[in-house]
Point group: C2
Chain length 285, copies 2
């Protein structure tokens, strides 16, 4: 399938990200269908004109007509969906997803998937601290990264198709990593940071702190507003990598603490020089 | 001394914060003098019109004319300055500071200070990741907190004077804490967060991460660009409180890690619900 303007695209799971995909694809002129478990979600999306058709049940016709299917479901639900409904897919199509963990999803899906349909996984690294289609907005992609995570089973054509999707949606940077590289990276830059923010907010129930809080604390805890169902599932699915990243962080945090205990100014300063130098990399791009 | 418009105010130490005070006070119509160790700082401040007079040495006349003195020096330098030059102060004036740690500074200064001059300490909780008078900007105060930290030695009049200074400079919230309450609060909301950001940046030297970094990581490490001289001094001066806060954080981080190891979804979810609920407090104000 190519990205031609009369393609019909089905989005399964119309939350914040699925809804934002729908908005972007509609804006580009595609026909967009959606399946959601919630009627009010479908109603809202229809009223807003971000989908052409929607259903709360899996209508075989809707699936059969789709030239591409994008899954915005929780990982476990995603696997169940494929097992239950893949017989309806049009032969030869590509399907993709938006799941935040790859190793434990991609291989499982590819294993159970029909041979005449190709699953090419992707992770749009965009989000907000709010949820649902009502908060969807395809502008969240503009400054964000999009990672395609192919396996040996994927064809070059599917990889290119999936990269095109990221480019069409306006992502700032589209790149390719193996599922394993992806999970290690995400364990560090995304999951570990959420663990830190959650832990920080659990340290005290002192309401008065709000009065004395500067930007630092606000910045470090913005992501402490978290969807506990989704994130605990994501943490579990990347358990080994995340535990490894947590250990690495605790080692560095413990090193800094040790320097402070010993009043080792040179040790603390060296860590601060390193952090200053490395943080500058992130300001350049 | 009252805040009358022909007051002459001396700022000792013309860095980011001292320079921002100078800009704000000049804008309000005060005569502003400055002492800095750097001639180029003085030259720049004069050219920009943010001070009326400046010197790289401690000119007795400049100190004698000042109706108020604001210290923007590192804590140790501040103490030395008082020991060396306090004989020049005009009798009866108030002096204040911008130091980020209080317990280990305020009592020492008050102990050595002349009886006819009153030191009322304050902490303007504003900053940037860049330094020096060239980056100064009094608009950084507009959304920030200002904390006055009196001791038993301070008079009501001096406390009110110091609060007025914060209000004049445009701080969003002006409040009063004891030096001990201040240091505990700051150990948590400011110093601990800087320790986390520094540790996080020390975890890996992988340049490629920049390509896969979302807002979470950027937010959590913004403050990893850090002035190592100033911050290691601040950490040491608040050593006991900061170590206590680091322990509390490690306990919570370890708790989350334990839940993940045990695949205890309910434990993780509960911490996430707590963090979500508490983070909302910080969005209201």
């Amino acid at each position: 399938m190519k990205w031609i303007s009369d393609s019909e695209i089905l989005i399964v799971g119309l939350g914040l990200i699925g809804g934002s995909y729908a908005r972007g694809l509609k804006r580009l002129g595609y026909k967009v269908y959606a399946i959601s478990h919630s009627q009010s979600t479908i109603d809202y999306a229809l009223e807003e004109g971000i989908i052409d058709k929607g259903s709360i049940s899996v209508e075989p016709e809707m699936v059969k007509n789709a030239d591409a299917v994008i899954f915005g479901l929780y990982p476990e639900t995603f696997k169940e969906w494929i097992a239950n409904y893949q017989q309806y897919f049009k032969p030869g199509i590509y399907i993709t997803d938006v799941t935040g963990v790859k190793g434990s999803v991609v291989y499982d899906i590819q294993k159970i998937l029909r041979e005449d349909v190709e699953f090419i996984a992707a992770h749009p690294m965009a989000g907000k601290e709010v949820y649902g289609v009502r908060n969807s907005d395809d502008r969240i992609f503009l400054n964000a990264n999009y990672i395609v995570t192919p396996t040996d089973k994927n064809t070059e054509a599917a990889i290119e198709w999936c990269k095109s999707l990221g480019k069409l949606l306006g992502f700032k940077r589209v790149s390719v990593l193996s599922p394993e590289e992806h999970d290690e990276t995400i364990g560090f830059v995304s999951q570990l940071t959420h663990c830190i923010a959650v832990s920080l907010m659990n340290c005290t129930d002192n309401h008065n702190l709000v009065d004395y809080t500067g930007d630092s604390f606000r910045d470090l805890t913005r992501i402490a507003r978290i969807n506990e169902k989704m994130w605990s599932e994501l943490f579990l699915m990347n358990k080994e990598q995340l535990l490894k990243q947590m250990d690495i962080f605790m080692e560095q945090f413990g090193r800094l603490k040790g320097y402070l205990e010993d009043e080792n100014v040179e040790g603390m300063s060296e860590m601060m020089r390193t952090s200053t130098e490395r943080r500058a990399w992130f300001d350049k791009k």
